[in-house]
Symmetry: C2
Subunit: 245 residues, 2 copies
DNA sequence: CGCGTTCTTGACTGCTTTCAAAGATGGTGG
DNA sequence: CCACCATCTTTGAAAGCAGTCAAGAACGCG
């Protein structure tokens, strides 16, 4: 079992999907087998192109990718990030076209998403996929509220708490730390701000002891105050989902 | 066959679902039968509450509803509108909890969503549901880009074009007109603005001949310029979907 | 006709953007 | 091992879009 570039000590994919639904030993093995057939997508390369057919449903094994909408005049909005363990290109209808462009923000490793093998109601893997899809929607809703109603500092606080939880689900975060392998410009593109303003706001948050940053890692120095600032509360999507908090 | 309050001359549900996938005569009949068992939800009443279990998947027959996120301090963001023909509470995993609160913006009529009867790959109704779900995601993506990167005037232009297309799909719009049975405050809540600013921006758009407003109806007076303003392009989700434009 | 909701208007504030340029930082080849 | 270049971060000053607060006008409903 060769190690994977960038992050991912064990397997983010197995960790995350197991957290979403109980998987059989056989299902875990299927995922690990898929990982043998992984491929690499270099930083800044496109993974999916809006309007093009989706070839191969995949799992992101390591790295960060982003769904993006680009405007003609150069403006850019990142709709959501894809983190290790996230699914990509899964569709419930036939002849799906990618709804958005997806690009690799860092170097990424992808693997084919194993087929759930029949029964959609019972299979652990099928359940994990379904829950994953519900979670994705949930984060889209949060992203909308974030962009629509929160100030710059609130957006950053909210996004950090959310991203920390997402990383934790894939086994990639410690209690108060998570990796943030992106530039402030990319961060600005997801938060609907300019990189200049993100920079200034991050400085304020550091000076007021909310966060610490070093080595592309965020430390949530005062989670309480961060959560109060953004009115943050943990996710609840499915009654059956394994709780992580 | 009794007529339904508010809007909906024929059946928005049949119109929209038929546009999403080819339905058999039997399937249309199933929808019309469901409509006999409809119920009314009064303006401002809640239809779904975030975190509560989803009881009954439904179709909206008439009226407008809204997914909403409320902040403790009173701020409010509408995540998306539900228009006649839209599905509500459809979930692919078991024990689903409502991801967001949904409330009736106007008086609404809802009906139980008929069961697709078995085969998920072939049934026209199942296909329509799947496509509907993909479309919902597509509009969430657009909402994110709208809030993140567009100015007030661009947001309004983009939202109007989108909403016109959505109404048209359910047979509720003529070439350049669509109903907008909501106050400017509600409009502000979906666009991430204040009602004061929406008011001023609408005035500018009227004065510059982009739109006309009367009797809770929007007329797209200059669709070309509106589309250019917002970099608007029509939707493409599934290669198999019936095109409406 | 009266009242509550919705729309409109004005003045002022302020958060965020814009534009530019100066530091850091990191990777690469000589 | 260090110079060099590209990328990323930081800083400053000025402008602008949107928000806030308040009050008056218009509208719709009973």
């Amino acid at each position: 079992m060769s190690s994977v570039p960038d992050i991912a000590p064990a397997s983010a994919a197995v960790a995350r999907l197991s957290a979403l639904a109980a998987l059989t030993q056989g299902e875990r093995a299927m995922i690990e087998e898929s990982e043998q057939r992984s491929w690499i997508v270099g930083k800044h390369r496109e993974i999916l192109r809006e309007g093009r057919p989706v070839i191969q449903p995949a799992i992101l094994l390591s790295g960060w990718a982003a769904r993006t909408r680009n405007f003609r005049d150069g403006r850019r909005q990142i709709l959501s990030f894809l983190l290790p363990g996230d699914l990509l290109g899964h569709c419930r209808h036939r002849d799906p076209l990618a709804a958005t462009t997806v690009g690799a923000v860092t170097n990424c490793v992808l693997a084919p998403a194993p087929d759930p093998l029949g029964d959609p109601g019972e299979g652990g893997l099928a359940a994990a996929y379904a829950t994953s899809s519900a979670i994705e929607d949930y984060y889209l809703f949060r992203q909308i509220a974030r962009l629509g109603r929160l100030s710059a500092q609130e957006r950053l606080a909210d996004w950090m708490l959310e991203t920390h939880d997402r990383c934790a689900l894939a086994g990639l975060a410690s209690a108060f730390r998570f990796p943030m392998p992106i530039t402030q410009e990319v961060l600005a593109d997801v938060l609907g701000l300019t990189s200049v303003h993100v920079n200034r706001t991050l400085q304020i948050m550091r000076k007021s002891g909310l966060i610490e940053m070093n080595d592309r890692t965020i430390c949530l120095a005062d989670p309480r105050r961060l959560a109060a600032l953004a009115d943050y509360s943990p996710m609840r999507v499915a009654a059956t989902m394994t709780q992580t908090r």
